[in-house]
């Protein structure tokens, strides 16, 4: 079990890791784990093939931003509507951007300070560019 947060705060971890690295939940739905550098089309094909309802994207290091684009691409270009989870080495200071790029939840690293994660995930009240949470860029909301 991991400590998992969403935009709303701390949430229960519904997914059990199984031995082959995939996940299963109480309704026997499947989840898959992929590396952040995997091409989106490959992930989308794996989702299809396995009927996955969870994709856990492993961010190798906070400095590697491919996971942000992968999440975006799965949502926007491949129409993935299941749960997107970030795992691995991200920083609390990245939480808000992860959500904006289409992640629903973040499995916190060991020893994470939950209070810091929850606080930083709400750091900014708005964003200029359109994103998965607010598809309308700020300029469209400013000028109608």
């Amino acid at each position: 079990m991991s400590t998992v947060i969403s935009r709303a705060g701390l949430i229960p971890d519904l997914w059990q890791p199984s031995e082959d690295g995939s996940f299963i939940d109480a309704q026997a739905r499947r989840g898959i784990a992929v590396a952040g550098e995997t091409p989106a089309a490959e992930v989308a094909a794996a989702v299809q093939a396995r009927g996955a309802a969870l994709v856990a994207i492993r961010i190798p290091s906070f400095a590697d931003g491919r996971g942000f684009t992968l999440a975006h691409d799965l949502r926007r270009h491949h129409g993935y509507g299941g749960t997107l989870r970030a795992t691995g080495g991200c920083l609390p200071d990245q939480a808000q951007d992860l959500f904006r790029c289409g992640f629903d939840e973040i499995a916190l690293p060991e020893g994470a300070d939950l209070e810091v994660w929850l606080r930083t995930a709400r750091g900014f009240s708005d964003a200029y560019a359109g994103n998965l949470i607010e598809p309308q860029p700020l300029f469209r909301r400013r000028t109608g």
Binding site: E37, P39, G65, T69, D97, D113
Partner: protein, 566 residues
């Protein structure tokens, strides 16, 4: 400059609070060195040789005098009384204390300034022509487009952790003064037949290692699509850019590896998915942003109105200053004025708090309260009435900022180098000073004519040495500082990259080498109008190499090839 509304202000304030919290966590041991490093870089904070260095953003080089005075205040209160203009139109402080940086950022926020994304592997300050809005050869005023890009790229959730830094430049005039050909994305704004704004989009240019000239990705991009197209390029780069080798991580390596056709196909395929989506710009937004730039008021003069003429002053110094430091303005009766920060005994681009105050006072009195930072590390007052030129000249002369050397060999572009920068192979400031001192005679400088000399302390090329007519690069050879000389580089639409002429030199040899290059040019130019760079292009590098090396004591010197690969 663009005036923030309450949303812009709130976001910058929130950024200050975020960084305050990050600094606190770091000092409390809750944030690793690595993590804090990445986060502070995105707030302009480096840790340099002696102390932290804070790089403050000056979006597209534009400042109002309130901001200039705030910079002076910060220099006095938090630094050693001076600041430095960088080659990307930003301002740097070399001695702030790390714990006080959140305070500095809070002070900056009160005048709508920040240090957001001035370093780190993210989208940096968008730069442009320092004569934007006033140049007679301008077709499109680039400021609005720069600001639209600034807002889009600020805190972009997806593009804050790129393979490497990413620089965008916009130019909207017949001549390119923004070096768009050597940026990750270069945008050349022009007009379609119906008068609407279109961009030529270039990608893959850049200095640093493996310098490259940008290639055209799309020849005519209607303005509505500017942000979605840039987004498509960034997304392709974030997916495909190399992360295994920091020296091959810039977008130019993707463009090179793919070839421009495949790169274009990838970008166009991505753009097809974004095109006409919510990121498409609207007339309302362009109008909103335009209206938030103060529009300067100009007096209208009749063509023969005497007040529109430059008064004559019986002083050759004034004529020289007019010839070099005063630039044409699209409005009759007005001119732009360069303030030269290339002076004896002062590192290029350094400015004291007192000078900042004095410049702000002059800008308020004579230039509509606006000051611009140029990538040549000077300042420009862009809106000066010609009638005021003599008194402004007097005032600038009193401040030591009227050296008539813009475009001449004395106007050396120079990075901070080994005196400050921890990445440096060699010092650059003393080289700039030695060369400047050698060419101190103004008659001689004027005779030599236009000549850009640029110096970088390492391959990162912050001093833009590849595009200097003469470029000097500091290299490390067995722990010693050596200098490689290039000739034939140029900025502008005819941009070219300089080529190394041969073995590297010790610091004390450099002024002699420059002198020999200059002598060779003077002996071979067909007319004074033929500039150094034109002459190099006409006769090639060989005569220059001979001039430099035939008197040289160590023709075999340190191995050029291995130095060239540094």
């Amino acid at each position: 400059m663009y005036q923030y509304d309450e949303i812009d202000q709130r976001l910058v304030d929130e950024r200050v609070e975020q960084f305050r919290d990050q600094t606190r966590r770091f000092l409390a041991g809750e944030l690793s060195d690595d993590a804090f490093r990445a986060l502070r870089l995105r707030n302009g904070l480096y840790v340099q040789r002696h102390a932290p260095m804070l790089r403050v953003a000056v979006p597209y080089g534009l400042l109002d005098t309130r901001q200039v005075r705030k910079l002076a205040h910060i220099a006095r209160t938090y630094d050693r009384g001076y600041a430095h203009f960088s080659t990307r139109q930003n301002v740097q402080f070399n001695w702030p204390a790390l714990e006080r940086v959140p305070e500095i950022l809070a002070e900056l926020a009160t005048v709508q300034m920040h240090a957001i994304q001035t370093s780190g592997n993210c989208i940096r300050n968008t730069t442009t022509d320092h004569f934007a809005g006033i140049a007679p050869d301008e077709v499109v005023n680039p400021f609005v487009w720069c600001e639209l890009i600034r807002q889009w790229s600020t805190f972009h959730p997806e593009f804050n952790w790129l393979p490497r830094k990413f620089k965008i430049a916009v130019n909207g005039a017949a001549n390119d003064r923004a070096a768009v050909l050597v940026h990750d994305i270069g945008l050349l704004a022009g007009r379609a037949a119906d008068g609407s704004v279109v961009f030529e989009v270039l990608a893959g240019g850049g200095l640093g290692r493996a310098p490259a000239i940008g290639q055209s990705v799309r020849a005519h991009l209607p303005w509505q699509h500017l942000l979605t197209y840039v987004e498509a390029i960034l997304r392709v780069y974030n997916r495909e850019g190399r992360r295994d080798n920091i020296h091959k991580a810039r977008i130019k390596f993707v463009v090179k590896a793919f070839g421009i056709e495949r790169f274009r196909d990838e970008v166009e395929a991505e753009w097809a998915l974004l095109r006409d989506g919510p990121g498409t710009l609207t007339e309302a937004e362009v109008a909103r942003v335009s209206a938030r730039f103060p529009s300067p008021t100009h007096e209208t003069f009749a063509p023969d109105d005497e007040r529109a003429q430059t008064p004559s002053v019986d002083d050759p110094g004034f004529s020289r200053w007019l010839a070099r430091n005063v630039h044409p303005h699209r409005v009759h009766g007005y001119a732009a004025v360069s303030l030269s920060f290339k002076r004896a005994g002062v590192p290029p681009g350094d400015v004291t708090a007192e000078e900042l105050h004095a410049v702000a006072d002059l800008a308020d009195r004579y230039a509509g309260g606006e000051v611009r930072v140029t990538h040549e590390q000077n300042l420009v007052l862009a809106d000066v009435r010609r009638a005021d030129l003599p008194v402004l000249w007097q005032a600038l002369r009193g401040l030591g900022l009227a050296t008539p050397n813009i475009g001449l060999l004395g106007n050396i572009i120079c990075c901070p180098g080994g005196d400050y920068c921890s990445l440096a192979n060699a010092k650059s400031i003393p080289i700039a000073q030695a060369v400047r001192d050698r060419f101190d005679d103004l008659d001689y400088l004027f005779d030599i004519g236009e000549l850009d000399l640029n110096i970088s302390g390492c391959m990162n090329a912050c001093g833009h040495h590849h595009v200097g007519h003469i470029g000097i690069l500091g290299v490390d050879k067995a722990g010693e500082e050596w200098y490689q000389i290039e000739i034939g580089g140029a900025q502008g639409l005819q941009a070219s990259l300089g080529r190394v002429i041969g073995r590297a030199f010790a610091a004390e040899e450099v002024p002699d080498v420059v002198e020999r290059l200059v002598q060779c040019y003077l002996a071979r130019r067909i007319a004074p109008e033929e500039r150094f760079i034109d002459c190099v292009r006409r006769i090639g590098a060989e005569p220059f190499k001979q001039a430099v090396y035939e008197h040289s004591d160590q023709p075999g010197g340190p191995d050029t090839r291995s130095l060239a690969a540094v």
